[in-house]
Symmetry: D2
Subunit: 309 residues, 4 copies
């Protein structure tokens, strides 16, 4: 079983991937790809069984390349999410001290997450963006730059030392990753699930988002993430990438999906899967599965003239 992921090796993505059972199965092959697109295209072509990519970060926000890739092209399905706390280390060549560091590199997202520490401890150092944290480490090993922001786990891969660990400004930063496969039957309902979808406005009418949110609200389904993304049709034309509580097999979630399907130009269902944090939804009175099924039965009886009178 081939699992492709956003590489290179030695990044947080690989660290997150190694925590999941699919990656630990005998015979699982993990292959780093240079881009999110490449990682997902391998799944689309059937070459890989699964793809593993970052989805959003609590500091930097959505990984837009992931959102956009999932929102277009042949349909993929999210089957699992992983939350990884983000802890940065300052990696250097052996023998380097803080005073020796003139240049620091890392993924563009690494810098804002360590900005405070850098300002306080390396005020003189110049920032150099790299394609990934792992690339930054390799550049340090090659002598191009003096220090890299990366996970401590990347140090041995490049013969580097961890000069300081935990240099991120916030200790609660977390990145969410998703495991995707070809579309098909998804994971079963667990009681603490999340559903991801993309909704495309029927046309550019100003109240479209309000209408969509109302469809969720009247059925008591809470959103956990909402991103507007341009459709490419011009400024002001958006689709909405949405996570909500619950599973497609739940009546209230299915009912929201149907309403959006009627309301929107297109709804792309990207999967229902267990929440990594195990948080069950709060089900408001009147919106449980029993309530929906009971209402279905009631209407059927009414339509048959069995009015209970």
């Amino acid at each position: 079983m081939l699992i492709t992921y956003l590489g290179p090796a030695g990044t947080f993505t690989e660290a997150a991937l190694r925590t999941i059972p699919e990656a630990q199965q005998p015979g699982a092959e993990l292959r780093a790809e240079p881009t999110v697109i490449a990682a997902l295209d391998a799944v689309r072509s059937g070459e890989a069984t699964c793809g593993f990519v970052p989805f959003e970060n609590s500091v930097e926000g959505a990984v837009t390349s992931t959102l956009d890739e999932l929102a277009s092209g042949s349909l993929l399905q999210i089957r699992r999410e992983v939350l990884l706390p983000i802890r940065f280390a300052l990696l250097v060549r052996p023998g380097t001290s803080l005073a020796d560091i003139a240049t620091v590199s890392g993924h563009p997202h690494a810098q804002p997450q360590c900005r405070g520490w850098l300002k306080a401890n390396l005020p003189q150092a110049t920032w150099r963006a790299s394609a990934s944290n792992s690339d930054a480490a390799r550049e340090v090993a090659a002598g191009t730059t003096d220090a890299a922001l990366a996970g401590a786990f990347a140090a041995p891969m490049y013969g580097l030392d961890v000069l300081v660990d935990g240099v991120q400004d916030r200790n609660d930063a977390v990145t969410r990753f998703v495991l995707v496969t070809a579309a098909g039957i998804g994971p079963a309902y667990t009681g603490a699930d999340r559903t991801t979808l993309v909704a495309f406005e029927m046309d550019d009418h100003p109240g479209a988002l309000l209408e969509m949110l109302t469809e969720f609200a009247v059925r008591g389904v809470n959103l956990t993430r909402l991103e507007s993304r341009p459709t490419g049709e011009g400024l002001g034309r958006y689709c909405f990438s949405i996570d909500c509580e619950g599973h497609i097999d739940e009546e209230r979630v299915g009912d929201v999906l149907k309403a959006l399907h009627r309301l929107c130009a297109d709804v792309r269902f990207l999967g229902s899967y267990p929440r990594a944090d195990g948080t069950p939804p709060t089900v408001r009175r009147g919106t449980g599965d029993d309530d929906f099924l009971e209402a279905d039965g009631w209407l059927s009886r009414l339509r048959k003239g069995d009015l209970g009178g």
Copy 2:
């Protein structure tokens, strides 16, 4: 076939009843009852097949006794509505002139509908409320009062003359009547239907009505009448008597009913029946039967893993 109606004979209710096919069938017996309750109780007991009662008036508003009777007790079902333009005549004993009239009587609802005419033409006359317009005519015949406001058709019943016809202030006043039967299979969908229901709030929470109206709005179902009625549980506790466009067999109407059933303490369905004015509903994009059925099929496919991808 016995049809009971709110009597006595000679009122607008009887005039409206005589316009419908059920009343014109061979063997149809029409029986005046003293109250709405009595007319409907005869249906509930099985003695009568149908009951015919006033429902609302464009000047005076809802006939609350009808609303309240339909909202409680064993379930009845509206099968037909009738709209009757209201035209009042001033009935007098033969030989009476306007100058002779010291007292005018009629149903309490008659007076406000003719107030302007009375003020202009009979400023000196005293108003005397009667239990019905027909009773008022009988009282004139008996010499108790001098003139009655009633339909011109009541004059011959009591040996009276029509002194002036068309004394109502508005020529567009109309009263709506309903024909009810025991609950069962109702009239079929015609494309221009109305649905009547009573919704009882789950509890006294301030936003209940807003929530109910939102359930209609998101499915594009327009209300044509909304009355709050006390539940008798104290001031501020209401149920809502509602007419909306459409037929229970329409998906969007059924979907609203199901949502209200989940949301409310109780929903009493009082029937879907052809609109007397023949006005078809405006079906907003995404809320037609096709849209609902298509969304049902789409969700079923999604749940089976057929994601079209």
Copy 3:
């Protein structure tokens, strides 16, 4: 000071009126009028200082003649409300026993409030509607009918006996009365106030009521009563008679009024006055007077370029 009220004397209206300070002032003259219209017209003409009329009943609902009179004609203002628990007695001529009673009379609203008791105790008696409970008592005294449903306080006025007291089916029935004056400065804010208004839809668009309710909801102002009343322009054309929590001098209430004024064809403000039950409103976070005033100040500063930056 003349106070007119809906007569005749001996009804619940008079009983309620006698509880208020205005009626107990030295020199206050109370005058019964035959109709709500007459009671209010005396105020409009300047003849009376105040009018006192029933407004709604927890069993029978709104007193539509009061709603309609306040909604049209020259503007009047509610300055006080009174809640009176409704307790019916069965009044008879001295010497009458239950077995002697063939006819029972009362105001049309009395019968449904005592229906259960009548069915259980006087199943054979015929109901006769009267113009008022007091008229019913007078008719008993005159021998026209055998028993009257009225307040026990009416018995001595007509030389009748209270055969049974407390014959109402519900002990929590209550009627709400209002004291109105010519429009002007109203009662001051007390912290537990109610505001009454009538909103006329801009035109017959189906979502008008939903829009109005949304204006209340976004400012956290709870409605305590909503009645739709026909405007007389035809079935389906309504105005809305509304009570809400709070006082016009409160920012959130004023803000709702302004929004309705923009949204509606007309808004008729009928007064802010102390709630008879003394219940203070629940003020949601962000909707207190302080919040509104703070926001006003903030916007003013922003507009002057004082952005706090």
Copy 4:
């Protein structure tokens, strides 16, 4: 007057900047900065009068570093927006033909905008991300890579040739840039304005966004952009970066701002400024300045007891 901008020179940002009057004034000095942060920090420190940075792109979406910088730190104010159609050229060293190109570089956002062209014309070429399109051109000049995606205007800066112009997949791609200054009095109302703000949820309650959108909707103010951005407080905690039609000096816009200020933990006003596309807003009935002012006057009169009655 110093204007800092996101450099380096030779990018679309510089091209857009050169179109605006501020940059064409005598004495205006334009200085490229390595990051959005640096460009804006120079304004914050008072060193620069204006900063000019990209804001959003119709294909790639928001420029999150700009959104995040404006959402935190000392307050800045948007005074102007610029829309620049995006047209990419393929820049090469003189003498290079398509067949010679093994590597193509550019800003990470350039690749997805030219993906189709690259796939069709340079299927064998490897993509190499650069810090900017201008850096990519410099790398070509240095021989590190073979071709760069950049604006044709960058070619002469680096001694390169335009091998192919117009290689972008969409001809309607446009990037929006903003000119910011220290906070203060902003541009005057023009009738075709846009307002930008950031709203921070009061707490993590699921309906917060729906509530905010409702405040806009009830006042008829259309949103033209909505981005959720993490607050850094953990996944699921967002602030909302919002553009809406209209100017803070318009009543309806000011009224929305006040409502958000009451509703939200914080509202950061980032400016009202002329729309680059000159599109005036659609003002719904009842939401024009006249309507608001008229309602203010009406409420004031009501509160003074001048009820017009």
